[in-house]
């Protein structure tokens, strides 16, 4: 494999993957770098919106796609996935002063989610009278929440938690409940990709030799998610 693989990533997902001072970083990104090293893959990173990742795999514009992609049945029909590298659920972020206490309070409210995310499907199924605005990325949604333009952002729980502790401190509050089931998160690959094997092998190795835990400590302060 001399040819570098093309990696589509969505750098609007702190602390998993984001752009800091012109360099990509974050837990998922660092993990991918280790995997690539381990599997002997050279790669080129291409930034794209979350909604573009799976179509770009389908059209073979990229070889690997990641952000924090839930491994769902529907997605497995069109792309392949690596083994999961963590589990995550969906949380709801509301403004600090909001009266919203539970997920049930969200019905008839204005909620935000990311285009193409698993949360969109969940909202459509479970909050039929909520008004849904779909954003291209989480940052835009956070800004909309700050501006009071939406009442809640539904997104990956860990990302929301990180935001609530950092930038969103004293502005935003995370509901305790998880919306729906938790999903495994993995690297998305083209259907029938020959990269599934080497990536899974590398991931196994990295989990075993402690590198995975080191990264986890670096980004979350404790092991596991």
């Amino acid at each position: 494999a001399d040819q570098p693989v093309t990696v589509g990533l969505e750098p609007a997902n702190k602390p998993f993957i984001f752009n800091s001072g012109g360099e990509y970083t974050g837990f998922s990104y660092d993990l991918w770098v280790e995997i690539a090293k381990e599997a002997g893959l050279k790669f080129e990173a291409r930034s794209m919106d979350f909604s573009a990742l799976i179509p770009a795999l389908q059209t073979k514009n990229i070889d690997v796609g990641f952000s924090s992609i839930f491994i769902t049945a529907k997605r497995k029909e069109v792309v392949d996935f690596s083994d999961p590298y963590y589990m995550a659920g969906t949380g709801a972020l509301v403004s600090e002063t909001s009266a919203i206490k539970t997920l049930a309070d969200l019905n008839a409210k204005h909620v935000a989610a990311m285009t193409g995310s698993a949360q969109v499907a969940w909202i459509k199924a479970n909050l039929p009278s909520a008004e849904l605005t779909q954003f291209q990325n989480a940052t835009d949604a956070f800004l909309a929440l700050q501006a009071g333009r939406v009442d809640a952002v539904l997104y990956d729980y860990p990302t929301l938690a990180y935001y609530a502790l950092t930038e969103g401190k004293r502005k935003a509050r995370l509901l305790d409940e998880h919306a729906g089931e938790d999903y495994p998160v993995g690297f998305a690959l083209q259907k029938g990709s020959s990269l599934v094997e080497p990536i899974n092998n590398a991931l196994k190795k990295i989990r075993l030799d402690g590198r995975y835990d080191a990264l986890s400590r670096k980004w979350f302060g404790k092991t596991g998610s």
């Binding site: 285009t115 291209q136 800004l143």
Partner: protein, 218 residues
């Protein structure tokens, strides 16, 4: 890859809903943009230098930045700056009004300047006030000649409404994207989206043509 006709047809109901939003946004923004643009255009053409300069800066700022940036600024920046809350649809309409007003102002200015000076002089020589000359002669003559350019700007406005995709307004392009992320049938969806735009724009163009014919162009 095979073209999946059922995916193509199944996308239509959703897309047509998006097309309604596109039309709504366009039909609300453009008359407002024309009004604002006409005012700015008249100022550009006839106001004394200091006021005209302000208008020039306004037009220059808008024409000198991409509309996507304007949309982002209005949607994400304005609330922070001025404590106003605009929902996406409103912000999008505001962006389209402001953006089109700058281009329309230039069209109006060009139209006014293109009216032969002789008409203005003939009006003045009859004893009309300057305001009357603009209102009854230069304005109407300019307007008739501007119709093609205005129509063109309206078509541009309809297409520009697709940029509201970046702030999540559920217009046609956005709807297309959402359907694509649901069905993962890119070719079929974008093909359908393109067809709907073509239809709307052809319709608009032929309405404008018949308007042009109706209004006698001198």
């Amino acid at each position: 890859m095979t073209f999946d006709w059922s995916a193509f047809f199944e996308s239509f109901p959703g897309l047509l809903y998006g097309a309604r939003v596109t039309l709504f946004v366009t039909l609300v923004s453009l008359p407002a943009g024309l009004l604002l643009g006409a005012m700015v255009g008249v100022i550009l053409t006839y106001a004394p230098t200091p006021i005209a300069s302000i208008a020039q800066v306004y037009v220059g700022l808008i024409r000198g930045t991409p509309m996507v940036v304007q949309i982002m600024f209005i949607f994400f920046g304005l609330p922070a700056l001025m404590d106003v809350r605009l929902d996406g649809l409103t912000a999008g309409i505001v962006a389209l009004v402001i953006n089109s007003s700058a281009y329309l102002a230039e069209i109006v200015r060009g139209g006014l300047l293109a009216v032969p000076r002789g008409l203005q002089e003939a009006g003045l020589a009859m004893g009309l006030r300057f305001g009357q000359v603009i209102r009854y002669i230069v304005g109407p003559v300019a307007f008739r000649r501007m119709i093609p350019a205005l129509g063109n700007q309206f078509v541009i406005g309809l297409k520009d409404s697709s940029l509201l995709i970046v702030i999540g307004v559920g217009e046609l392009t956005r709807t297309g994207q959402e359907i694509m992320t649901d069905t993962y049938r890119a070719v079929e969806v974008w093909f359908a989206v393109a067809i709907i735009y073509l239809a709307m724009i052809s319709l608009m163009a032929s309405l404008l043509k018949s308007l042009e014919k109706h209004v006698r162009i001198a």
